[in-house]
């Protein structure tokens, strides 16, 4: 395996067999269980799944900002440009954080330091990575503020003087201040008003285009995926259960869970009386079911599904799906 990947040109970002565990009150919580994914420069990969499926944990593992206490990468490799991030010493990793890889957080209301001016929060990232004197960092911060559509004279204001959408713009400005190669966007629009969501997404898209930044977009909004992503990975209980291009996933959803996700979106054209949720609840990550983690909720589940984990199946065109009943399901449709 490793020889092969050396010969071919390595992907820009590659996550291999990533497993992350949390320890809480004597229990081991399997948050991420063997995730594999790749991302090329300038592309966007959408991570889709329910709350608690492990999406944020994947992003935090890439940046190595999991909580010190009680969280551990149990297995796997994460490499960026062929460099294994998980084995880097902390001071090397620090040079990557906020510089080559940066992250946009879910809740702009709490993501900014309330006692530091917004300008300084942007300038701090610039100074850490680009060096230079204070004035240069401040100039860059002002430039970033303008780029995200905030007047530069608000440099010395504090986060509490900004609205939610404006705060998220500041968060984006911090994330993009050092022209990162990879942007981890963790539900960047979830906490925002619908009208602001589109603005923020457009802003991210515009800035990314400028710098050819790759993005890992975490979301549970299929609409956002449709407009933004190139590839999509559907996550369930800490594992990718379906992975392919946006077209493959949207046009031919294969895994029963993905099918369920799409079925849950109410149709605008038909007059629907009921919503169609996926029955049941996501499993407790401290006690995952044996076999396929989805089997208790799966209408197609067989005895085999309950026994052992299902291997990833890859079709000819590269569409991956972790289900043993794919053919049946395809016929059933």
């Amino acid at each position: 395996m490793s020889e092969q990947s050396k010969n071919t040109t390595a992907p820009f970002l590659e996550v291999k067999d990533l497993a992350v565990e949390y320890y809480s009150g004597g229990k081991v919580i399997h948050a991420v269980n063997g995730v594999n994914l790749t991302l090329e420069k300038g592309k966007t990969l959408g991570l889709v799944g329910e709350t608690g499926a492990g999406k944020t944990t994947i992003a935090k593992s890439i940046l190595r900002i999991l909580p010190d206490v009680g969280a551990k990468v149990a297995n796997g490799q994460i490499s960026l440009d062929g460099q294994n991030l998980l084995s880097l010493p902390e001071h090397e990793m620090r040079k990557i954080r906020g510089n080559k890889i940066s992250m946009i957080f879910q809740d702009p209301m709490t993501a900014l330091n309330p006692v530091q001016t917004v300008g300084d929060q942007i300038a701090e990232a610039v100074r850490l990575h680009n060096g230079g004197n204070k004035r240069q960092a401040e100039e860059r911060a002002e430039e970033m503020l303008k780029m995200v559509g905030i007047s530069a004279d608000r440099y010395y204001e504090y986060p509490h003087q900004f609205s939610g959408g404006m705060k998220q713009r500041v968060v984006i400005a911090i994330a993009l201040a050092c022209n990162p190669d990879l942007l981890l966007a963790d539900e960047p629009t979830t906490a925002l008003d619908v009208t602001i969501q589109a603005q923020v997404l457009d802003l991210i898209a515009e800035l990314r285009q400028k710098y050819n930044t790759a993005m890992l977009l975490i979301t549970h909004d299929m609409g956002v995926v449709a407009t933004t992503c190139d590839d999509v990975a559907v996550i369930y209980a800490g594992n990718i259960i379906e992975y392919g291009t946006k077209e493959q996933i949207f046009d031919h959803p294969t895994h029963p869970y993905t099918i369920g996700l799409f079925a849950a979106i109410p149709s605008m054209s038909e007059d629907e009386e009921w919503l169609h949720p996926i029955e049941g609840l996501p499993p407790d990550p401290a006690a995952l079911p044996e076999g396929c983690a989805f089997h208790p909720r799966c209408p197609y589940a067989t005895e085999e599904c309950k026994k052992q984990p299902i291997a990833m199946q890859i079709t000819k065109d590269g569409h991956q799906c972790r289900c043993c009943c794919m053919e049946q399901i395809a016929k059933g449709e």
Partner: protein
């Protein structure tokens, strides 16, 4: 901001008056006849009656209260001690600086040791530095300061002979009293710092700072501590009151002629004017310090500063006795 400070300073006038009325009223219920206290138990009834008349004790309560407030606040005349005849104002001018010096030294020691201890405990949560400092802190909040003072005297003065056991003089006279007083403050501040730092360390903006590539030491000192300080300042404020009270007791152990000695001696000899004026002065000093604490909030937290500037005074539930 200046308007807010002025408002708070003006607000101290009714508070001081309130304290004066409260203390004066309480003192009139004190057991014993002031005339007898002054003249001694051997005085004749005529002399006593003359003394009562001279002190105005035969006037109705409201008139005496009015006279007292008038003398104290309009003429700054605090009167004389009943037992020693010394001017009370002179005694306070002499005693207050000693008490304040000791209180402030104690508080500074508590801040300088307590906050870092709490921060270290939070950073090493559930590891040995945390456990050691929290056990120490628990012992610190549980040891009565006057007992600790006695133990320190036994160890450092009686057995080792390193430090003087009583009196005033150079800095060496302040070391034992300050150590005895500070133990409690160190422990309380360490516990508060730990819990508020733990709250802050989990916030999203700390993750943001880490994600920016900020070195861990800066994450803690620059980002977390400044936010964590806000609840710590509240505790520093309440600690000031406690230390002031604690200093009063500790003074009696180390024979430091400060406000504590002055007031406690006065209480025991029923020298009520001294108790009255001493209490009012300490209350004013205490209020000034609480104002300083409120201004410190504004310095640390721009949100509070904005509130002050807008003129919206945020009333905090200052649990001074908690």
């Amino acid at each position: 901001m200046a308007k807010y400070v002025l408002k708070r300073l003006l607000w101290m006038i009714p508070i001081s008056l309130g304290v004066a009325v409260l203390v004066f009223t309480l003192m009139t219920f004190c057991p014993g006849d002031p005339a007898e206290i002054i003249l001694g138990s051997t005085a004749t009834e005529e002399n006593l009656e003359a003394m009562r008349e001279q002190l105005g004790l035969n006037d109705p309560f409201l008139m005496r209260l009015g006279d007292y407030l008038n003398d104290t606040f309009l003429h700054f005349d605090l009167g004389e001690s009943w037992t020693t005849g010394v001017s009370i104002a002179d005694s306070i001018v002499e005693c207050l600086p000693r008490t304040m010096t000791l209180t402030i030294i104690t508080l500074l020691i508590a801040i300088v040791i307590g906050i870092p201890l709490g921060v270290i405990a939070a950073v090493y949560q559930n590891r040995w530095p945390d456990k050691v400092s929290m056990v120490l802190a628990l012992l610190g909040v549980s040891v009565p300061n006057f007992w600790l003072a006695l133990l320190l005297v036994i160890l450092f003065s009686v057995n080792l002979g390193w430090l003087p056991a009583m009196g005033i003089g150079g800095i060496e006279y302040y070391i034992l009293p300050a150590m005895a007083g500070a133990a409690n403050g160190i422990a309380t501040l360490a516990r508060q710092s730990r819990s508020s730092m733990l709250d802050v360390i989990r916030s999203d903006y700390i993750t943001t700072a880490r994600a920016k590539g900020v070195p861990e030491i800066q994450v803690i000192l620059k980002h977390a501590l400044k936010n964590g300080l806000i609840p710590i300042i509240t505790v520093i404020g309440t600690q000031f009151g406690k230390q002031l009270g604690g200093t009063m007791v500790i003074e009696t152990i180390f024979a430091i002629p400060g406000m504590g000695q002055l007031i406690i001696t006065a209480v025991n000899s029923r020298d009520y004017p001294v108790v009255q004026s001493g209490s009012i002065f300490l209350a004013i000093v205490f209020s000034l310090c609480m104002l300083a604490v409120d201004l410190l909030y504004a310095a640390v937290d721009p949100r509070i500063k904005a509130q002050y500037s807008k003129g919206k005074v945020r009333r905090k539930a200052v649990a001074a006795n908690g």
